[in-house]
């Protein structure tokens, strides 16, 4: 790395190790917390699951940013190169998150259909059978 001295670069690398290790431990702790291992009963609240999920995604994206920018040296690359790689990658991340939500939506639709199937047929609004007899038309 031409921008930092050798000694500074070495130090930064090990700081990176501590940082990534710490973030990983926080992620695991957060995941176990969301499942109720640290405070029991937490797993019954759906809003906590969403907050924990969001937190995990944010932490993982931060790890990804750190690995790409520092370890893979993207910070020092030309802007064109960085954008040509990062923009498609961000779109991919968006696609992954979108399809997680899509899967949830499929399940909800399926459950909704099952519910509706179970309901008794409504008579209201239906025309009486004899309306369609040929002598009754017009």
């Amino acid at each position: 790395m031409g921008h930092l001295s050798y000694e500074e670069s070495k130090k930064k690398v090990f700081q990176g190790l501590i940082l990534l290790g710490a973030v990983t431990l926080v992620e695991v702790g957060l995941s176990l917390f969301g499942k109720g291992y640290i405070i029991s009963g937490v797993e019954d609240y759906t809003w906590i699951a969403y907050v924990v999920g969001l937190g995990l995604i944010v932490l993982s994206l931060y790890k990804a940013y750190f690995i790409i920018y520092e370890f893979m040296h993207m910070r020092y690359e030309a802007k064109g190169l960085a954008l040509s790689v990062l923009l498609p990658t961000l779109l991919l991340v968006w696609a992954i998150i979108a399809f997680f939500q899509e899967g949830g939506s499929w399940k909800d639709r399926r459950d909704q259909i099952k519910e509706k199937d179970a309901e008794p047929a409504q008579e209201q609004g239906m025309l009486p059978d004899d309306v369609y007899r040929i002598d009754n038309l017009g």
């Binding site: 790395m1 670069s9 690398v13 995990l56 370890f71 190169l81 499929w106």
Partner: protein, 332 residues
């Protein structure tokens, strides 16, 4: 290395000149640029897999709970959810750090340093592969999970397990409780364990056969295929415990445990297998490049050991993919 230590000799005055040929518009060598774009294409492949995983998982009525499935680990009897995969994550993170040190030494043309740090990276990679191999062996050999069979299930309604004589036992569970279908005559999920702490209800296990031989302590009938009072044994020898539903529209009905969603096995083995294949090929390339570096080949090329940097990019990509696989499979 074109972007760091050398001085730019020729000032480029406008964009047209930069892009008119025989220049490096992105100030990176051909090899490095192509490595970035290869990694981008690989990211698309993995994203495809993760999208398949996400849409299948969240559209399934139930899905195996990761901290229930992944709580075994080598060297010990205790069950610690997610500890093993956390260790695997650390192995890859550490190997990424050693890789960066190797690249730094390469910039100074320090051959011994390059070889040393790359060796550590290789060891980290081999360690990761060994852990993954243990995990696979555990799931396939002990838990009998395959690409088409998933013995980890989740209850969708509350119920109570039946005893061997058909009466209701004291083992009650709520909807959302996890269970593991055992195979007759084999070892179960890390031995006897009681209530799954902090989880919807008791986790259960079938007729655990801990002795190696035929006498399983439940009587000789428990292992043959058939419909028994407290459980059903299928043609492949799996024990599906019977339970009576206690709530909901099916209350009072006796059902038997079913296998969990099939997709789980296929997705798990394909995605971790594909990633493991990348780690393996990465280790092979690391060995080759380390040996080349050791011979002084890259000093002769005088590009600041750019080859080491390129394989470093690949290795960090492998680590990065693991960050997301780890997140999606084990944490969420």
């Amino acid at each position: 290395m074109a972007t760091t230590d050398t001085v730019v000799e020729h000032e480029v005055h406008d964009e047209k000149e930069l892009w008119s040929g025989a220049k490096e518009p992105f100030k990176a060598s051909y090899g490095k640029l192509m490595m970035w774009y290869f990694l981008l294409s690989d990211a698309f492949t993995f994203a495809g897999f993760l999208i398949a995983y996400g849409s299948l998982r969240f559209s399934s009525p139930t899905w195996p709970v990761p901290d229930f499935v992944f709580k075994t680990h080598p060297f010990g009897d205790s069950e610690l959810p997610l500890i093993f995969v956390t260790v695997m994550s650390f192995l890859l993170i550490i190997s990424s750090v050693t890789m960066v040190r190797g690249v730094q030494e390469g910039h100074r043309n320090n051959i011994r340093g390059v070889v040393f740090w790359m060796l550590l990276t290789i060891l980290g990679g081999i360690g990761f592969l060994s852990c993954q191999a243990w995990e696979w062996n555990n799931l396939i050999g002990t838990e009998h999970m395959t690409v088409t069979r998933n013995p980890f299930g989740t209850h969708t309604e509350a119920g109570v397990y039946l005893n061997e004589d058909g009466t209701e036992s004291s083992e009650v569970f709520e909807a959302g409780a996890s269970y593991l279908i055992h195979k007759a005559g084999g070892h179960g999920h890390g031995g006897d364990h009681g209530a799954d702490a902090g989880h919807g209800g008791d986790d259960s296990h079938g007729a655990d056969d801990h002795s190696g031989g035929h006498d399983d302590g439940h009587g000789a009938d428990a292992t043959a295929a058939g419909d028994f009072e407290g459980h059903v044994v299928d043609q492949q020898g799996f024990i599906h415990r019977k339970y009576k539903v206690t709530e909901g529209p099916d209350a009072g009905v006796v059902k038997s445990e079913e296998f969990g969603p099939k997709a789980f096995g296929a997705l798990f083995f394909f995605i971790t297998g594909f990633h493991g294949f990348h780690v393996f090929s990465g280790v092979v390339f690391l060995i080759i490049i380390m040996l080349n570096a050791g011979s002084g080949l890259y000093v002769a090329r005088d590009n600041g050991h750019e080859m080491v940097e390129k394989i470093g990019l690949y290795w960090h990509f492998v680590d990065l993919v693991w960050v997301f696989v780890f997140l999606v499979f084990y944490l969420l």
